[in-house]
Symmetry: C2
Subunit: 388 residues, 2 copies
Amino acid sequence: MFQNAPLQGSNAERSRHQNRQAVLGQIHRQGTMGRAEIARALSLSTQAVSNIIADLSGDGLLIERGHLNVGRGQPARQYALNPKGGFALGIEVRPDAVLSALLNMEGQAVVTKRVALQKTDPGTIVDTVKTLFHHALADVPNARRRMLGAGIVMPGPFGATGITGHGTGLEDWCDVDPTTLFSDALGLPVEVSNDANAAAMAERLSGAAQDLSTYAYLYFGAGLGLGLVSGGHLVQGAFGNAGEIGHIPAPGCRDNLESALSRSSVQRHLQRVGKKGDDIEALDELFTHEDNDLYDWLNQATEALAYAVTIVENIFDPETVILGGAMPDQILNHFVAHTLLPAQSVSNRPNPKLPRLQRGTSGRMTATLGAAALVLHRTLSPQIAHAH
Amino acid sequence: MFQNAPLQGSNAERSRHQNRQAVLGQIHRQGTMGRAEIARALSLSTQAVSNIIADLSGDGLLIERGHLNVGRGQPARQYALNPKGGFALGIEVRPDAVLSALLNMEGQAVVTKRVALQKTDPGTIVDTVKTLFHHALADVPNARRRMLGAGIVMPGPFGATGITGHGTGLEDWCDVDPTTLFSDALGLPVEVSNDANAAAMAERLSGAAQDLSTYAYLYFGAGLGLGLVSGGHLVQGAFGNAGEIGHIPAPGCRDNLESALSRSSVQRHLQRVGKKGDDIEALDELFTHEDNDLYDWLNQATEALAYAVTIVENIFDPETVILGGAMPDQILNHFVAHTLLPAQSVSNRPNPKLPRLQRGTSGRMTATLGAAALVLHRTLSPQIAHAH
DNA sequence: CGGATTAACTCAAATAATTTGAATAATCAA
DNA sequence: TTGATTATTCAAATTATTTGAGTTAATCCG
């Protein structure tokens, strides 16, 4: 899945493709830009950019947005991404439900939907995904022709590994290659990833990591996940299972990090004292009422979090660590405010430009949005070309 | 140093450059190849490859190596890298000495040297490095014109961080930018990295990782370092300090992983019982005589190593973890053989193609060779182009 | 107010790399 | 010996780029 593909040489056609992507990406990062400005940013001639913009406008990917006047000289005609120029489907498969989001080119969700699942075999899930796709298409005129691809998020780890304890609920999926399965079913190019990785990309598309290129994302999902972004690209590992930080044993934790720092952890903790902590609303409620049992959990979870951050900072040296996922914002804020970050860390700098730990801002559907973000990322940033 | 540089667009000239690099890299990986074979591998026309090969041969980077006959059809003229076509200087700066190695295009060391240091201020070290460079040039005719660049390895972490405890011995270097310093002094393009990262690349150039693209390298240097290679490229972190695994506190370790698993750790342990473990030879000797005190250390070190591997596997999901650095091969072998690898890991696969933990094979000068390998890597693999 | 300056953009030609297609060369196999 | 196969070369076509001159539209400044 992530093998050492041989690199491709370049020719005129592939240069054009790369330059188109570069122009789109540049405009995406900046919002709106003029031809000459783009040319300077990409070290291309204005003429080349002009040609490419004509192309992209013709394809409906760019729209003009008036003129910008910054002093002397002819005002620059500004271009922006056409929100309706392209769409990306994001699908999140959970053991109990499938979520979908259709994002436009600007990264805004135009349709979202959730369907509960009775069975989790590949057939059922593929059918559900197909239905969700057709629903989304029905709501958005012309989206069919403008689909850029689909991103699928599934609970990891992928393939047969030593991690079996927690049961992902998707046991029938061992021998299936999800990429070709969904690609054939939807008739779209497909990217598959796990929840934490996708969430990390969601945060880059429209959240706290918009201007970051090297950061880590700690994600509360089924367990505790980690998404690593280096130089703007996901670090997925050799088999797509990078970031399984939850399974690391930690000092002071019963079993591993996940056993002290995850949704199941807090749920178990509250269950023992006869309280309900199944959903985000319940946790939010408890936190608002300063529930003592929840605070007990928070105290030991904060220690586990400090340890997780220590590992991530020293191994990966990110610009910042972002915290997000299936937790109430209040609790995430509590973590950010009350976690005692280790002094013994390469990230403990004298005058940091960014907080070492911050809360993600892309909301509850992070992973679903992230699935679509994977697709947008591919179309907006020039990739090293691989053969086949 | 590792900021989010904007991407560059492509044009004919830059395509040629990229294709030249791709051809060189392809030949490097394969040993020798014919034009048509290269064309297929890179999805280029044979004519394009023919032109590029004429170019590269003219520049002295390729040499012809006879004909290869594989059945019907005209035999293909084979090309290989010209070992004397390019050289890379590797420099390793330690608190007590500076080491140098001049590698040819094939990655073989043609000159190596070591100079002890009295002082470690930038001026002294730059002078030493200059002298080593000129010595190397004097020994190899025509190397001056054919220098591809220099790689410098220095003990991390770089910049002001929370890691101060162990004292790198290079305190005067806080406010110096080593890249421009050495680049100006040597008149060469320079890459700066830490020892573990460089060692990881050495292993890829000519060691155990030649056919791997995503792996981790645990390195015994001053402390315990980690080099991460993802998709053939180093993961260096936002500030170049990725891989400081030694500073992570671990269950069962006095202070952190490094305090149980490093040269200083074994040295301290042996010192307490009045034995000498300062250099590799002494450790080798003790191991050969099955010294009980050394074995005591090994037992607890093996546990620390198991934990380090757990972290690395679950966070990074590598194809394999390679163990190397300043330890006798015997001891590294002992670690590989006797470390109880965790079952709770994404790397615990049913039918692994590679051992999860293996010993590096690039010998004692790994980091110095790795410094030069950074330069060769840059010239042999097409990079995403960045502006400026 | 009006000419000089500045900057963005366009047009047409030049350029530099590629691909394409036909021709040639060298080997194997029947 | 002849036909099939594969590698390579040559010359022309192609495709993207850059270059340079010219146009447009704004600000600056006397």
